[in-house]
Amino acid sequence: MQFLSIKNNQPVPVSSIPELKYPEFFTLNTGLVAEKPERHCVSYYGYPVQDQIILICCIADDSEQMIHISSCTVKLSDQLPSFTTKLFCFEKFEREIHENFGLKYTDHPWLKPVRYAFDRFDSTRNISNYPFYSIDSEELHEVGVGPIHAGVIEPGHFRFICNGEQILHLEIQLGYQHRGIEKLFLKKKELSQLSTLAENIAGDTVVGHTTAFAQIWESLCRYETSREIDFSRTVALELERIAIHTGDLSALCTDIAYQLGSSVFGRLRTPIVNFMQEWCGNRLSKGLIRPGQVRFPFTPALVDRLNQVLNSFEPDFLEMNKQLFMLPSALSRFERTGVVSFEDALSIGAVGMAARTSGVHRDIRSSHPHSLYPELRHAVNVKRHGDVYSRVQIRKNEVIQSIGYLRKLIADLPEASELSELSVPGENLFTLTLVEGWRGEICHTAITGPKGELIHYKIKDPSFHNWLALALSVRNNEISDFPVCNKSFNLSYAGHDL
């Protein structure tokens, strides 16, 4: 066997990961993914050991519910053929490896910086002189937007090449949010610090990223979570999904100048985030999830409260959606705008909600379920058209589905039980966790050293794949439709830049 197959959250000794020569590593991983929609690369990264780089590639297989891991050791002086020439979905991973370590790819078509990390290999490359693609033509013009945007959002630079009002090409330059999180994971030693770091990876996906971190840590400590722990994480993940999808529907209405929808969806987010505050003291769930702990027990009083919140939320949410979907002026802005085809979504390795709107069945809740998801038997929401309208519909459908899950979950409140003590991480382990946040698949991987200390920590937010989906979606659209396309994805800058 050339690769090691593990389950979600399964710790294995680092030494058990098969080490291949680069040509075999290349053939194996590109072969695993090629023409297999049920497989995709969840993480591919390198870490330095002395003067060599160890590459680790993780390919998830959704039908077998396994993740295939393989590794390869390369030298900085090596000239390597890139996976990207075979499959575009490796494009960003290889760019990241090149940016971090200066590894040379002989035939990578787009070897541009990813995030200008502070410890990048080539520090002469600076964020202010990014090599944008340009076309020399008198017919075309370029439009630059950002890094600071007109709204209250995170920074990133968008460079459009337009023919009149029509977008021919969009290039997205990120990195402005880079805070050096992955390195801080190695520097900070206290568990409370690591948990706090995890909840600051992306402030709109607090539950998603802290759940991923908690699972990684528990997996390294070989800790069995109680039903109560799993329950609170599942409930929090679904609440976060409802809150953000509702907020995004509000923002989408704002972008098409539909005031009523904007106000109603905007105000509907409030009872959900306020419920989070009643539960854990923070509207965005910071402080709620910690490895091996239930910091804020879900009491029977909270069950009643959540039932009340959902009962008053649901009719107003449905009524507003019904009106929105009947409105010709809204539909004309949503339909056939910002299309990502099934083939494109697949080839770039899109994940989560963005992939599902293009017909790609990708949802960790059903393919690699964790917490209480195995019991919920999640039915994946899939749309076919890949346009803004699909992304609006899928948000509505997922909110309704999440409400159903929450009602089911809180009808069977687990007993509070004595929790077992969390031990320390095992030595020389590798582990990987996949969590379906509201945006899509979050992947954290960790490697421990001979004393159980973290020697590598890798975070992959779904936005890492999906920014390219946004860039493809706006091609041939009017530039005035860019905001609504952008909002329909609502990708994370902080989660990408780390």
Binding site: P147, Q177, H178, E190, S192, G203, Q277, E278, G287, E319
Partner: protein
């Protein structure tokens, strides 16, 4: 038309009539109160992930605190977080809450420039710059303008260009990659202008303090007019802070 009216009617009354005295639901972690009980000071200081707790006297620096509540869970008799959300101030030292002190956090009126009140007292337009902000403070800044908190009733709004703004609002620990855009944005804002830091990350760097990917030198070069702590800052903290800064407490 009738459907729209029906929807409008079904929303009921959403806005918070009095944002100065509104109660927050549940167990919000606002201004902490530290009792004079004797505890193991070293253990208390060590339990804080953000290094916000100092010893003798025991004090919590809200500019560093990530409001995770760890200290109040481990030392329930010693530290208690109240639901007092009015925790903005214009003096950095006022964010340090010492043991035995249970007093509201106020702004020092003497150091508020006069034109903030005379020029911005009825209309304040702000430009927001996210400099490594994790999008939680950004969500809450947007929420401050939704129909419930409705900050624009006070003439306070976020504008698209620094040239239209009376000041800048910074979120995030200020990454090295954002240092230059932030400076350009500040320079483009006409005088008189204010600088407001929102969230723990902006005030001290928070959990990112000391990361080599940050460049916080902007803060050394300029005077900060308002600190709005929180992780993220609550919309009510934000609105009340801005009202106090423009003389409308």
């Amino acid at each position: 038309m009738f459907n729209n009216l029906k929807i409008w009617y079904h929303q009921g009354k959403q806005f918070i009539p009095d944002v100065r005295n509104a109660k927050v639901p549940g167990i919000f972690r606002g201004r902490p109160v530290i009792s004079v009980d004797k505890v193991d000071g070293a253990a208390l200081a060590a339990c804080c992930p953000a290094n916000a707790i100092s010893q003798s006297p025991v004090a919590i620096d809200l500019g560093k605190c990530t409001f995770c509540g760890e200290c109040s869970i481990r030392f329930p008799g010693k530290v208690m977080f109240t639901t007092d959300y009015k925790i903005s101030t214009n003096e950095r030292e006022c964010l340090i809450i010492k043991e035995g002190v249970d007093q509201p956090i106020k702004l020092n009126k003497d150091i508020i420039p006069g034109e903030f009140i005379s020029m911005f007292g009825n209309s304040l337009k702000l430009r927001q710059v996210s400099a490594g902000g994790d999008n939680s403070c950004e969500w809450e800044l947007n929420a401050a303008n939704n129909v419930q908190f409705d900050m624009s009733r006070f003439g306070i709004e976020f504008v698209a260009s620094p040239r239209h703004a009376d000041g800048i609002v910074i979120t995030g620990p200020i990454t090295a990659n954002m240092a230059e855009p932030l400076q350009i944005c500040y320079d483009a804002t006409p005088d008189p202008k204010m600088i407001i830091l929102v969230g723990t990350d902006a005030i001290s760097g928070g959990i990112f303090e000391g990361s080599p990917a940050l460049d916080r030198s902007f803060l050394d070069r300029h005077m900060i007019n308002l600190y709005i702590p929180g992780n993220p800052a609550h919309p009510l903290t934000l609105i009340n802070g801005l009202l106090a800064l423009t003389g409308r407490e």
